[in-house]
């Protein structure tokens, strides 16, 4: 139900994939996929984009920190109508990962309000987004419900 690429395979336990690139540079692949933020060394503010300076305290030094891979859904929407080429429906969410807010899709869950709610526990997972002409696989990420 992720509907995000041409294929939809769990790659977290993939054998020896040819060559992979992450959908975004803050997704770290490998045996233990996770997200990596830039943390301001002065105030601790965390960012996922390329930085010029800190929006909170204006300092310019950052260090890379690993973001917790499990979290709680703080907000969501089920997008039923999107830009051309974007498969719908999908669940967009903000996940509180141990105090760091992360934006991502909820995947491996029915995209309807009976199955998605704020406060639900989710964990990071990756999937194959597609393969380019050179045979390189692009790997995306999303969050799936934690069963218990």
């Amino acid at each position: 139900m992720t509907s995000t690429g041409t294929t939809d395979t769990d790659t977290t336990s993939a054998g020896t994939p040819p060559s992979q690139v992450p959908l975004v540079d803050y997704l770290v692949l490998g045996d233990d996929p996770h997200l990596l933020a830039s943390e301001c060394t002065a105030c601790g503010a965390r960012y996922f984009d390329r930085r010029n300076a800190c929006a909170s305290c204006f300092a310019t030094e950052f260090t890379k920190v690993r973001i917790a891979s499990e979290g709680t859904v703080r907000a969501f929407t089920i997008v039923a109508f999107a830009a051309p080429g974007v498969p719908v429906p999908f669940v967009s969410a903000v996940i509180d990962c141990d105090g760091t807010s992360v934006r991502g899709n909820l995947i491996n869950v029915e995209p309807d309000p009976d199955h998605v709610h704020t406060g639900m526990r989710v964990r990071l997972t990756t999937y194959l987004l597609g393969t380019d002409d050179a045979g390189t696989e692009a790997i995306g990420f999303g969050f799936e419900p934690v069963e218990n």
């Binding site: 540079d25 703080r74 969501f76 997008v79 039923a80 830009a83 974007v86 999908f90 380019d132």
Partner: protein, 404 residues
């Protein structure tokens, strides 16, 4: 405060919002300007500065409008500030008057948006070349819209509303709650002939309409349409030299505030539309020397039903965390304690982006002037107009009845 420090709206006008197939940006903007000048009882010869807002056009709208309504050589400031563009244009004119550079200024906001469809979605074209190549500030090899959350406005603001309910442990029927907010605004618009949509809508119709981004169905989203609005502002000293009738109809701008979002954890993940609105509201109440209890009506930026709820709280119309109770009390209905969006709001009156900021102020002016016609809020003396543009920018103006 001396008279020269006071800022007044001398004249204000909005066009009908809706589909204007036979009118372009310049036609609509000119109509608004000519209407505002006539309402003010002045001409372009009296105006010292023009601030012109337009977001989706090709640029330079101010000069294009001058070429129709009067080329007097005055400075033009073309402004663009997302959905706060109109309020920003007005604020620009106010600043020039306040700075003492001119004694009278004109602001206009105009947009052609009928049939524009969904705003904010990436929709970026696939690269011709078929190899992954990291691009942009996230080093993305493909569009992130739809893969890492949503960029569409209905989806972003849906999350804003859902987050509010989550933070305040709401246990009710969320979809229905937001739909009922929309029902209020659609009901209000039946009294507003300038609204793009003037039909009453039942709860069943609203909830049963096309889902855009849960919990926002189509009628719970702001209506894309065409429209323009304009205002003439003047300082107190100049106003005293004008006719008694002009003085009587002038509306005092007792607060004019523009803010952006200060850094907060998560604000670069999901836009924080709350902090900058609350900050702007605090500043506005302080400038005006009033509190929320003194307001007789509010026009707030209900770009989506989910947004209206959070702004009850952000504008401090209720206790912190009390937005649901405020709505459930019936307060924001036109016969309630503090009517909100009696114009029909963006959901029903429509949202021609750059026109919205001044149109919200026009609505408040109608009531405090006692010229609101069938939808007049009786005895209205003070009102607040709020807009927010994602990115973000928040404009708040407090308008007061003339003492003259």
């Amino acid at each position: 405060m001396s008279a020269s420090d006071e800022i007044w709206i001398l004249g204000i006008h909005m066009t009908k919002f809706g589909k204007h197939f036979d009118k372009d940006l310049v036609d609509l903007g000119s109509e608004a300007i000519l209407g505002a000048l006539a309402d003010a009882g002045v001409t372009m010869a009296d105006i010292g500065i023009l601030a012109a807002g337009n977001l989706m056009g090709s640029g330079g709208i101010g000069q294009q409008l001058q070429k129709q309504v009067g080329q007097t050589g005055i400075p033009v400031y073309n402004v663009s500030n997302a959905c706060a563009t109109g309020a920003t244009a007005l604020r620009t004119a106010i600043m020039a008057v306040k700075a003492g550079e001119v004694d009278m200024g004109l602001a206009v906001g105009v947009e052609k948006l009928a049939g524009a469809g969904l705003l904010g979605g990436g929709g970026s074209k696939k690269s011709d070349d078929n190899t992954w190549e990291p691009k942009g500030r996230y080093g993305a090899v493909a569009s992130t819209d739809g893969r890492i959350g949503t960029d569409t406005m209905p989806g972003v603001f849906a999350q804003v509303g859902m987050e509010y309910l989550h933070n305040h442990a709401y246990g009710g029927a969320e979809f229905e709650l937001f739909a009922r907010i929309s029902q209020k605004n659609h009901s209000h618009s039946t009294l507003n002939p300038l609204a793009a949509y003037t039909k009453e809508m039942s709860l069943e119709q609203i909830m049963g309409d096309i889902m855009i981004a849960y919990p926002n169905t189509r009628p719970m989203c702001s209506a894309n349409c065409d429209g323009a609005s304009a205002a003439v502002v003047v300082n107190g000293e100049k106003l005293k030299t004008l006719s008694l009738e002009q003085q009587r109809r002038a509306i005092k701008i007792s607060a004019s505030v523009l803010t952006t979002d200060p850094y907060q954890e998560a604000c670069q993940v999901l836009p924080d539309v709350n902090t900058l609105t609350r900050n702007a509201a605090k500043q506005a109440y302080e400038q005006a020397g009033i509190g929320p209890d003194d307001l007789d009506l509010v026009e707030l930026h209900d770009c989506f039903a989910t947004a209206e709820l959070v702004h009850y709280d952000n504008l401090m119309l209720c206790d912190e965390g009390g937005a649901v109770d405020f709505f459930e009390s019936g307060a924001p209905w036109r016969d309630g304690r503090l009517p909100v969006n009696v114009s029909g709001g963006l959901q029903s009156k429509g949202h021609p982006i750059s026109a919205t900021g001044i149109a919200n102020i026009w609505e408040v002016c109608q009531h405090v002037r006692g010229e609101g016609g069938p939808r007049q809020i009786e005895g209205a003396k003070v009102g607040l107009a709020h807009v927010i543009g994602l990115g973000s920018a928040c404009g708040i103006h407090v308008l007061e009845k003339s003492a003259a």
